[in-house]
Structure formats: C-alpha cells, structure tokens
C-alpha cells in the first residue's frame, strides 16, 4: 500500500499538495512541506508588473469568522476571510525564488502566475519553465482579480498562448460557479494538462456596530471547511465531462476529505487553510489518515477508487420518489378551516 501518485508525468510521494498562498511564499516553507511529505508545492501566485500594487498587502489581511476559541481549528464551520494579494516581491525575485526552491527541493515545484496581457502570460510562463519549475498553474480565478479581466477573452487567450509556449504541464485554476464545467472543457480543448478546482469565492461581511464592511471595505476571499461541499460538486461535474486530470482544492481538513475528492474523480488535492490554522503537521496527519483508510479497505492505492462514487451517481429522473400527499394532509387543511 502506498500514497505514490502519478500526475502529469510526475511521480509524487503523496496526492496532497500545498496550495498556492502564504504557505508557499518563502523557501523555508518548501523544506517544511517536504519534511511533512507533501506531494508537491504550488508557489504563491506572482502578478505581472501591471498589477504591481497587488504585491503589497493590507493589514490586517485575515479574519477568522465564527472562530470558536475553545475548539479552534478542530471546528468544522469557521471561515477564513482574507484580503491577501500576490507574491510580494518583484518578478525577478520570483524567478530567483523558483530557482532556489528547485535547487533544494526533492518534491515537484509548481509556479503560479497571474496577468491579463497575453504577452505577459507568455513571458511569465516561459520564465517559470526556464527557472526549472515542474509545472505552471494559471491562477485565473483569484477572488481578488480585477473585474475587467474575463474568462472568455483574457483567460482563453492566456491558456492558448501559454500552452503553445512551454513544454512543462499547464494547470488552469478555475473558480467555483455554474460556468465551471464549460471552462474546464475550454481549458481541455486548448491543451491544458489539468484543472485545479476551485479557487476560493469572493465574499463579504459587515460589522453591524459601525455599520461598515469589515476589514478594508471591499469584497474578500472566503473559504473554510464548509467550502468542500461546492468544490466536491464541481469536481464531480467536471470529472464526468473532461479527460484531463483534476486537482481538487477547497475545505480539506482531514484525510477523509481527500478521499472524498478522489472518489469523485480528483487525482490530487491541494490544501492551505488547514495548514494555516492547524500547522504544518496537518500534511503528515492527512497522509496517515489516507493510509489508514487504504489499509482498512484492503486497497493498494487511491488510484483503485478514483471516481468510484461517480458510478453510483444517478439523475433526477431516476431518483426514487414516494408521494408525500397522505402525510401532508394535516398541514393542507385550509378547506376545513374555511380558508377557501
């Protein structure tokens, strides 16, 4: 029995990745991820020079909502509200960051980029490749991305040009929403190697005492353990339509959650919030929980159960239904009550 996973031609020691964000923003964190036996690390997203302002972060930038101080990260219902932006150095710093990561790491390193101009996408993706990254992820779905960039125009062009310009695998990270399957199909059609589903949502919260939006007065990224339920749905929807592999991300707190993603067709799973609130050893704990499940079920690898739950999915027409009419009678007595 082993957690060894094949993904985009890479052999990984675990299907569990560190997702792009504050846990992949400096070289020392790569060492921590490796010690914990993460499968790979997706580095913090670097923005093109046009979005230079996104290299500076507001303070404070995180608020844990509905956070129960007594049970802290053991809770299954908090939200991490955040207004974090892109990688905080220049692009030169980022290229150097990738080079140093690659020099010291034995696990695969995936670069992550954001731009709008097709030429910037192309240049940045080529640099990521030249610096030795094992793959590049296009972060086209950040909850903080400017509203002027749209999937149909900017991002389709980006996927096309990047796929043509690099030899390393290209992952496309999509946001949640009703258009996700369509976007997966487009990404596949234009040659993406995999999709990452899904980025966090754009959310909002208000302080009723001051009657103002919390933190800085603008929408923020929102996610938490509860977020897995919509990403699980999106992974299931996508897995039935596309052939390229899926990297699930959202709300994973335990090995159980990873297994759910795999049962619905994901090949790998990216985690972040759980590392932030429960520490780096969450990775090895999750690995151990998956191993324990495999042993209990007498399985050799997760590959044996990938997509298995999809086979048991049904359609609305085939759902067995029973009439509730006789039992609804007591509540439907308006005639008796003269309410006709």
């Amino acid at each position: 029995m082993s957690l060894t996973t094949r993904f985009l031609g890479l052999t990984l020691q675990s299907p569990v990745f560190v997702a792009s964000g504050p846990a992949s923003h400096d070289v020392n964190q790569i060492r921590l991820a490796e010690e914990q036996k993460a499968g790979a690390v997706v580095l913090k997203t670097a923005c093109s020079d046009k979005y230079e302002h996104m290299r500076s972060w507001p303070r404070p930038r995180y608020k844990l909502l509905d956070w129960d101080k007594q049970i802290a990260g053991r809770s299954k219902s908090f939200s991490l509200y955040s207004y974090e932006q892109g990688y905080s150095g220049t692009l030169e710093d980022y290229w150097e960051f990738i080079r140093v990561c690659k020099k010291h790491a034995t696990i695969p390193i995936i670069g992550s980029i954001f731009a709008d101009d097709a030429r910037d996408w192309q240049e940045m993706a080529k640099q990521v490749e030249q610096c030795g990254a094992d793959a590049v992820e296009l972060d086209i779905s950040s909850p903080h991305r400017p509203g002027s960039v749209a999937f149909e125009t900017t991002f389709v062009a980006a996927i096309k040009i990047v796929v043509k310009s690099v030899k390393i695998p290209v992952l496309v990270k999509l946001g949640p929403g009703h258009e996700v399957v369509q976007q997966c199909l487009v990404a596949e059609e234009f040659g993406a190697s995999a999709v990452s589903l899904c980025n966090r949502m754009r959310g909002f919260d208000v302080d009723i005492e001051s009657q103002r939006p919390i933190l800085h007065g603008y929408y923020a990224g929102i996610g938490g353990p509860w977020a897995k339920h919509y990403t699980l749905r999106h992974v299931a929807e996508a897995a039935q339509e596309i052939k390229i592999p899926i990297s699930g991300t959202g709300g994973v707190m335990s090995g159980e959650d990873v297994i759910k993603y795999v049962l619905l067709g994901a090949s790998t799973v990216q985690i972040l919030s759980v590392i932030m609130v429960n520490g780096w050893d969450s990775i090895s704990r999750i690995n151990a929980e998956i191993e324990e499940y495999l042993t209990r079920k007498g399985l050799n690898s997760l590959e044996q159960i990938r997509g298995k739950a999809l086979e048991a999915m049904t359609s609305p027409e085939d759902i067995i239904r029973w009439s509730g009419e006789p039992k609804a009678g007591a509540r439907n007595d308006w005639k008796k009550r003269g309410m006709e």
Partner: protein
C-alpha cells in the same frame, strides 16, 4: 450587546485608526496574558515567542517579534483573554500604497 460572543471578540472588525499613517503590527499586553501558549502556533509567520518573566503572575508571557510580524491579524483570534492590540510600526520604511492608482480602475466584478 452583552452576549457571550462579544465577550472576547478577537480581531476588531476594522483596521486601527492609524492605519493610514503607519503599518500596524500586533503587540501583547503582557499584564493580560495568561501564558496559555495558544498564539505562537496560530501565528503563521513565527512572530510570537513565549518569554520568561519571573515577576509575571504566570511567570511567562507571549511577545510579538516586531521584525517578523506581518500584521495579518490571526493571533487576535487565538487569545482567550484578548491580550492583543495593534501598534504602529514606526520603523517601517515605505509609505502606504493604494491599489489601482493609475492602472486598473475597474475593480468591480
């Protein structure tokens, strides 16, 4: 309001008033700290250490290392007695930056 939830509210919902002039960093009010050890692990930037204080009621206290503090706000949520406050980091070099000064003005989705 007087309900349980607001007793130890954690991070204030709004940034401190001085945020336009100085970047905020966290600081521990040592007299309040009960040395419960909850905040160092929640700080993702290794900016909180526990220090010995022989004269302190609990003999120890949490201390924020200003050089490491990114002003993120997580530690406020760890503390059962709300011992965290914002303080201006007057040593920080650069002035405040505003987003989209001349680039993308259309930030609505």
């Amino acid at each position: 309001m007087g309900n349980e939830q607001t007793k130890y509210p954690g991070l204030p919902p709004l940034p401190p008033p001085f945020v336009k002039e100085f970047p905020p960093i966290a600081v521990v009010v040592e007299e309040k700290c009960i040395a419960c050890d909850r905040c160092p692990p929640l700080c993702f930037f290794d900016a909180i250490i526990m220090e010995n204080r022989p004269e302190h009621k609990y003999k120890r206290t949490a201390v924020v290392v200003p050089e490491n503090c990114t002003g993120c706000g997580l530690c406020f949520e760890a503390c059962p007695v709300d011992a965290f406050l914002w303080t201006p980091d007057k040593t920080a070099g650069s002035g405040p930056l505003r987003a989209a000064q001349e680039t993308d003005k259309d930030m609505d989705v």
